[in-house]
């Protein structure tokens, strides 16, 4: 507020002082010049009438000559003052109007409004720096999961896109520089409810600056950065950036998982919420045979390296290998969109194809040409732009890599369910049979719908009933949490994925595990199971029903009656 106030004050100084001076001179002149009344007696105007007269004269209202008709001397003075006062009056008004239209004034107003909106936030929120393709996907993912976000973006049109977006939560957005600490503070960096900062801009330097700003000003909150080069990643990690996300590395890791442990890949797909509606079918990328990678950019390189690590024979098709660097294996120069190049790479005998250029049209064309030549191909497509979603759905590839989407989902997972990323990391150490068993358990529990994932911490805020039962000396086991509060003979439709106590992580904990305050649990299951579980955690009577099968009387009077009733027995 002060900012705008001071801008107005400073700009208004000169016009106001001019206005006052000209008024004072005009009034003084009218008072000094002798006039005469209706009867011809000498009369001098007093200050009251002079002020009145000048006020309406300057604003060009003009009520006429008062209180008596003017003498020629007075008229001479009034002629001069009309022009000066009117001009000065217009000048002052003009200054105010131009001030209102001034860009810096408008920007100050906008920043002001944005800051006050952010200040009023009462739930945990995240600051998203950069509203490009990825930022947009992340904001959508966060708001779809009922979490709040604040956006800071340099480009105007992107802020306008944010305003047009039909999101479930209101997302305040400011057109500002995320590298400017003042803008970061306005976006709520100092806000007690700010839970994390996500730097997603295309520029590595800007992301770095955001990470440094956050770590210096608010060391305790989490920072997640996007980085494209390992150099910048090391730099970010050096001062404690919590998570650094590289979409190409991440996808090649997924790909390796799909090769080595298809069931684990499937679980990963389900739990990280790629699809909100249906459970996906498992994919089995073929290992026996030759693969073709089109495009040897950042994505192509990451995939190529993974395929080589798997010991799969791979051919690369690249338009300009002199720019991107030549792969160690076979490399064919060309776009890959023409049948000639694909045939040269051996598409008829290949088992898999990766369309990984940074051009969506080329990728689609590669896939369509290759499918014509070899309909049995396993196809991995890279989608660069959100608006081409329908096209990629139509081409029906086996695996889709959409960098923005991958980053957005990964970050949403890190922010809302950090235990899930721990779980998926630890799950990699188990063999695929373990994962297949888990996949069939989850599929049996959730039936057709994709599962949701939630975390529970046993503390007095989220589970007061459980905590007080434990404090009263009851043993609460994991099974007590899994029983349905409606019918204790039945289990809720959910699976306990992980139990964390003092940094000890146990995957798929047993049902007879005894819980303690401070434990953290990760569940997945049907959306309804989450709310039913929280019922037992919050309500002592529901918990008592789950434990013993009977609901205790709720009111004090009934409790007293029951005690009297029980005593003789």
């Amino acid at each position: 507020m002060d900012n705008i106030f001071f801008i107005v004050m400073r700009r208004m100084r000169a016009p106001l002082i001019t206005l006052i001076s000209v008024y004072a001179i005009a009034i003084l002149g009218l008072v000094l010049i002798p006039g005469q009344d209706a009867a011809g007696n000498p009369y001098t105007m007093d200050f009251f009438h002079a002020f009145y007269f000048v006020s309406f004269m300057a604003s060009t209202i003009g009520f006429g000559e008062i209180p008596f008709e003017f003498t020629d001397g007075q008229r001479l003075w009034v002629t001069i003052t009309i022009y000066t006062t009117v001009v000065v009056w217009l000048y002052s008004i003009g200054t105010i109007i131009s001030l209102v239209q001034d860009q810096s004034f408008k920007q100050a107003l906008r920043e002001q409004r944005f800051a006050s909106r952010v200040r009023r936030l009462r739930d945990t929120f995240y600051i998203i720096c950069g509203y490009g393709e990825t930022g947009r996907a992340l904001v959508r993912a966060l708001t779809d999961h009922d979490q709040l976000a604040v956006v800071l973006e340099e480009k105007w049109d992107r802020i306008n896109t944010l305003r047009m977006e039909n999101l479930r939560q209101f997302v305040p957005g400011l057109c500002g520089n995320a590298g400017d600490p003042d803008h970061m503070l306005k976006a709520g960096l100092g806000h007690p409810r700010c839970a994390g900062v996500v730097a997603l801009s295309n520029s590595n330097e800007l992301n770095l600056k955001v990470a440094i700003t956050t770590k210096l000003l608010r060391n305790e909150i989490r920072v997640i950065c996007r980085a494209d080069s390992h150099d910048v990643e090391d730099n970010m990690a050096s001062f404690g950036t919590d998570h650094i996300v590289d979409p190409f590395d991440l996808f090649s890791l997924y790909l390796a998982t799909a090769f080595q442990a298809p069931c684990l890949y499937l679980i990963q797909e389900w739990l990280s919420g790629y699809s909100r509606d249906q459970l996906e079918e498992p994919v089995y990328p073929p290992r026996e045979g030759c693969w073709i990678v089109c495009g040897y950019g950042r994505f192509g390189k990451a995939v190529y390296k993974r395929l080589m690590d798997e010991g799969i024979e791979t051919t690369v098709i690249e338009m300009s290998p002199e720019k991107t660097g030549k792969p160690p294996g076979l490399c064919i120069k060309g776009r890959g969109t023409e049948a000639v190049t694909l045939k040269e790479a051996g598409v008829e005998t290949a088992v898999g194809l990766v369309a990984g250029t940074d051009d969506d049209v080329n990728n689609l064309s590669i896939i369509m040409t290759a499918r014509e030549l070899n309909p049995e191909l396993f196809v991995i497509a890279r989608q660069n732009h959100q608006e081409n979603k329908a096209l990629f759905e139509a081409v029906n590839e086996d695996m889709l890599m959409h960098p923005s989407f991958i980053i957005a989902n990964r970050i949403r997972m890190l922010l809302s369910t950090p235990l899930l990323s721990d779980f998926l990391g630890l799950a990699l150490f188990n063999d695929d049979a373990w994962a297949c068993e888990l996949a069939s358990t989850i599929a049996a529990v959730v039936e057709v719908e994709a599962p949701i994932v939630w975390e529970v911490e046993i503390d007095t805020a989220t589970a007061p009933a459980l905590c007080s039962a434990i404090a009263a000396g009851n043993t609460i086991t994991l099974k007590d949490m899994l029983l349905s509060p409606r019918d204790r003979e039945q289990l809720l439709s959910c699976v306990a994925l992980m139990h964390v106590r003092d940094e000890t992580r146990v995957l798929l904990p047993e049902q007879d595990l005894v819980l303690k305050p401070g434990d953290r649990l990760l569940f997945c299951g049907k959306p309804t199971a989450d709310s039913k579980m929280r019922w037992g955690m919050l309500n002592e009577n529901v918990l008592s029903y789950i434990k013993t099968g009977e609901a205790p009387p709720e009111g004090a009077l009934w409790r007293m009656l029951r005690r009297i009733h029980r005593r003789p027995g």
Partner: protein, 127 residues
């Protein structure tokens, strides 16, 4: 030398001196208090107030508030004068004059505070 400071100091001190000039004299004697002087005091005080606009310091804020107090008092005095001369039937009486002068006396006190603050700020600068 900062020309802004010269103009600023000039108007603040002038506001006080003119105010004093109007204030001295027998409190209820209209001959001792001229209307032109009151007019000059009001104009100079208005300009002094506007000069204080937009100063972000704590000192600037206090200076602005003293000026606003002085203006309030002076406007009240002018209003009383107009009421006595033009609206009421009695015209200017010693009791009305006394209240006008005492109002301007209050304004003078605010102007004194302004000048004292200005002096303090100047002394604290030490350069």
């Amino acid at each position: 030398m900062n020309p802004e400071k010269v103009v600023f100091g000039f108007f603040i001190v002038l506001a006080l001196t003119l105010n004093f000039g109007f204030f001295v004299g027998e409190i209820d004697n209209p001959d001792h208090h001229h209307v032109y002087e009151l007019f000059a005091v009001i104009v100079v005080n208005l300009i002094a107030t506007i000069l204080k606009f937009g100063d972000r310091t704590q000192m600037g804020a206090v200076l602005l508030s003293t000026s606003l107090v002085a203006l309030l008092q002076l406007f009240a005095a002018a209003l009383v004068w107009v009421m006595a001369e033009h609206v009421s039937s009695d015209g200017m009486t010693p009791s009305v004059m006394a209240s006008i002068v005492s109002l301007s006396g209050g304004a003078m006190l605010a102007n004194v505070v302004s000048v004292v603050l200005l002096v303090i700020e100047t002394v604290m600068l030490r350069r």
